[in-house]
Amino acid sequence: MTNTPLDFQPEFTPTEEERPAGTWMESYWAETARWAKYFSFAILGYFVWVTYTDMSLTFPNSNSFSKTGIYLVAALMIPLANIPVGFLSFFCFRFSQDLEQALAGSNQLLLEKAFRQLQRSLISGLVIATLWALSAVAQWQTTIQFMNQHVPPDHLDFGPTIIETLDTLN
């Protein structure tokens, strides 16, 4: 068994049917890599902000943190709940980084790796979208409940409430 250097890359040999990507495709990939990098930074900013906001809502003052163990659990749970956002940012950054390097060095293996990172970022996005969908269901339920119970005060001339209007139409 021979020792192989860690940065060893097996040579890429295209088959007869495979063809070069071409300059158009490479320019589109370069554009995608650039914007994907900015997007990953924006998502990272959102991750930091959302974790900070959740933490500051849970721990309005620092004394309460030391009092009970429940806050410790919350302190662990909040970043965990936001982890898909962190993953989205990370995989998006890796995608842009790998794609840029693949384009710069014409590295086929890195190009394929970049698109695997993109798939991982899409999976993270799907997890976030599913969590948001659950949150949206809860929000709609609260809103519908509010609309059903809402009786406008007399001093505000609302006209018919939304539910009354819908009833009239039916």
């Binding site: 890429f12 295209p14 088959t15 049917e17 495979e18 063809r19 070069p20 990507a21 071409g22 300059t23 158009w24 495709m25 490479e26 589109y28 990939w29 554009e31 995608t32 650039r34 914007w35 994907a36 900015y38 997007f39 924006a42 998502i43 900013g45 959102y46 902000w49 693949a102 384009l103 014409s106 086929q108 190009l111 394929e112 698109f115 695997r116 993109l118 798939q119 899409l122 999976i123 996005g125 799907l126 979208a129 599913t130 948001w132 969908a133 949206a136 929000q139 709609w140 809103t143 505000l156 609302f158």
Partner: protein, 156 residues
């Protein structure tokens, strides 16, 4: 004439230069695999965007009706913040939908790119546009958060 020819987009090269990147079967299969997830994500994103937009409109309706303005003076009270908040909300949703639609079209094209080279090219171009619109959306989203924080500071 030579300069003009250089500015025109070049046809995809058909040479066997080892230094270029290749559209390998593995890469194209990976793209098509990703396109299924991407297409689903964009469709879900569009639905969630519509839902969030309707909820935001309802919130806006309630806030303007519960705290009505007797006379509209932009620089009095928090009228300026309320107006800016409404405007940034509309801009934010417009950019989000733009990004999601570009993504939806991109992934749909890439999904059917096995036999269609134009779909592969257009899909790749739209993928960049999707990120472009989403970055601007994220910028407006951040500006809106700052606006809310500023208005809270201003009112307190």
């Amino acid at each position: 004439m030579e300069n003009l020819a250089q500015d025109l987009p070049q046809e995809p090269t058909q040479n066997n230069d080892d230094q270029s990147l290749w559209l390998t079967d593995r890469l194209l299969a990976q793209l098509r695999k990703s396109s299924k997830i991407g297409w689903l994500l964009m469709a879900l994103g569009l639905l969630l965007g519509i839902s969030a937009f309707l909820l935001s409109l309802f919130d806006l309706y309630l806030s303007w009706i519960l705290y009505p303005l007797k006379e509209f003076y932009l620089l009095e009270g928090n009228t300026l913040f309320r107006t800016l908040s409404a405007l940034t909300m509309v801009a934010m949703y417009y950019l989000f939908f733009r990004g999601m639609l570009e993504g939806y079209k991109a992934w749909r094209l890439l999904r059917y790119s096995e036999t269609d080279d134009d779909a592969l090219l257009e899909g790749s171009e739209r993928l960049g546009k999707m990120f472009h619109w989403l970055v601007i959306w994220a910028g407006i989203f951040g500006a809106r958060i700052l606006l809310v924080l500023l208005s809270q500071k201003w009112m307190s």
